[in-house]
């Protein structure tokens, strides 16, 4: 019996939130009275394997094969299922990312297992806590099958501390990538010098109050001063002002930074679902009735076009001093 964790990486470099998933999985393993193993799947994944070598896992199953050079949900699901069976996994978990959420239900189907998505807590009796209704409520769910599958919210757990070194086992990959009736065509990556939204310590986020794309530099300047990531509401993404990769909310990314600065946004429940677990929330909005103020630790009723540049200058001045 063991817990298996799908370690997410991007072209071989570890997606940091995987460490938070390993931590969540280690808690499950402790309750089940067993150890945990990692699965690293892809082509040229050496760096990712090295990055999770010392986190207390028993074994790292490495499926490193040219047949896996292009990511497909289907091939990942087959390889992960094979590793789960070979390792006697009674639980399979991964990050609640667009990748984890696409792959893990397929794995659950193959293992005839129940699955909980976007898990934000684990109870003492191995039930799973997860947000429902855009985070308005939390559900406690029980998976009644022998094998349990879960996608984990990285923001809900701390990263796993360093631990014992794992043994590495290379896994022979027997899939036929042409058998899936699916071809990877291309990936258009969003290129940014800023920290990734889901990993940033500070997020500067904006909504429709920004009015036009031309005004976004106001937000960018504050983000640069704070070395922060940029986030956005659905409305501004829909309006084409910024790429969808920046959307925070129920149907976008979930973040929980130390500081979340919400600029010119009303605070729709769907947006709050993606940021309300931030440690400190600042709201800047000229409408004092905006619901965002109800979740903000610090609010200022002001015109963002004046307040944000002023705030940027003052922070810069203090940093320079």
């Amino acid at each position: 019996m063991s817990v298996l964790i799908l370690v997410e990486h991007k072209k071989g470099s570890l997606v940091k939130a995987s460490l938070n998933v390993i931590n969540a999985a280690s808690k499950m393993a402790a309750q089940m009275g067993c150890g945990y193993n990692l699965a690293v799947i892809g082509s040229g994944v050496g760096a990712a394997v090295a990055a999770v070598k010392n986190v207390g896992a028993t074994k790292i199953y490495v499926a490193d094969d040219a047949k896996l050079s292009n990511y497909l949900d289907e091939s990942w699901a087959d390889v992960l299922t094979a590793i789960a069976k070979a390792s006697g996994a009674k639980a399979v978990v991964g990050l609640a990312s667009t990748q984890g959420k696409a792959v893990l239900p397929r794995v659950a189907a193959k293992l005839d297992a129940g699955m909980a998505s976007e898990v934000s807590g684990i109870t003492d009796n191995l039930h799973f806590m997860r947000p429902v209704y855009a985070g308005n409520l939390n559900a406690e769910v029980e998976i009644t099958t022998e094998i349990k599958v879960a996608s984990i919210r990285g923001t809900a757990f701390e990263p796993i501390p360093a631990g014992a070194e794992a043994a590495v086992e290379n896994v022979a990959v027997s899939i036929d990538p042409n058998a899936y009736r699916k071809k990877f065509v291309k990936m258009d990556e969003v290129v940014s010098d800023r920290p990734p939204l889901t990993e940033a310590r500070i997020v500067v986020s904006f909504g429709r109050g920004i009015k036009a794309k031309e005004n976004i530099p106001i937000v960018e300047r504050l983000a640069d001063t704070l070395k922060a990531a940029i986030g956005a509401t659905r409305v501004v993404v829909d309006a084409g002002m910024i790429h969808n990769d920046y959307q925070v909310g129920q149907t976008g990314k979930v973040v929980a930074p130390d500081l979340y600065i919400a600029i010119g946004m009303s605070g729709a429940i769907q947006h709050l679902a993606g940021m309300k677990d931030s440690k400190v929330i600042v709201a800047i909005n000229k409408d004092e009735e905006a619901p965002i103020f109800q979740v903000a630790d610090y609010g200022i009723v002001a015109d963002l076009f004046q307040a944000v540049p002023e705030m940027t200058d003052k922070i810069q001045a203090i940093k320079n001093a």
């Binding site: 239900p105 397929r106 998505s117 308005n136 009736r181 291309k186 990936m187 990314k253 610090y298």
Partner: protein, 248 residues
Amino acid sequence: MKILVTCKQVPDPEIKIKLNADGSGISTDGLKFVVNPFDEIANEEALRIKEKLGGEVVVCGIGAKDIATQIRSCLAMGSDRGIHVVTDAKLDSDSVAAILQKVVDKEKPDLVLMGKQAVDDDMAQAAQILADKLSYPQAMYASKIEINGNAAVIVREVDGGLETVEVTLPALVTADLRLNEPRYASLPNIMKAKKKPMDEMTPADLGVTPAPKVRVVKLVAPEARKAGVIVKTVDELVNKLFNEAKVI
């Protein structure tokens, strides 16, 4: 081109959901139900594909008697016929997928289009489980779908950017927000929808006995954030962030 679209009834996402008095479920006071917004986008996309290539759009909903209203609203948008799998059972994603699998076996669509998630339980699993049961290729979170003969090229909204994949039909695709903006049903079309065919059947008729693998034990209200302070000036705000919250 035959497209099967799914339609789930969800509480209106604009209404703030609250616990009921004894905490056993959600309060139904003032609650209104709508088609899951992502299913509406899937339905719209199916109609656009049909308008271009011809064919048929079939809408399937699973649930109690009253969800027929939601299937009818998909028909009012222009879909051709409905399938209502009538059940009062509490279903999980796996049992929904098991039922849909039988519907697909029966209907043999070229494409199954679903919303990327339902905005009530946010599980986002039924589509992937269904794709796996059917051994279909899947393309989740589509922001663009282009049909080329027996293939579909799909642009997907994924972490870090946009990924393009090509799937051979039949395939399963889920709709993301930016795929399209669903049309409003016109009054004549709402009237017409009332006469469109709707097949009613039970899971048993399809040979499925739902056996949920996931059970909701209880719902709890999340801890509310403590009320914050409203500051008067930017100076005060910056000062508090540096010296009180110590987050900068």
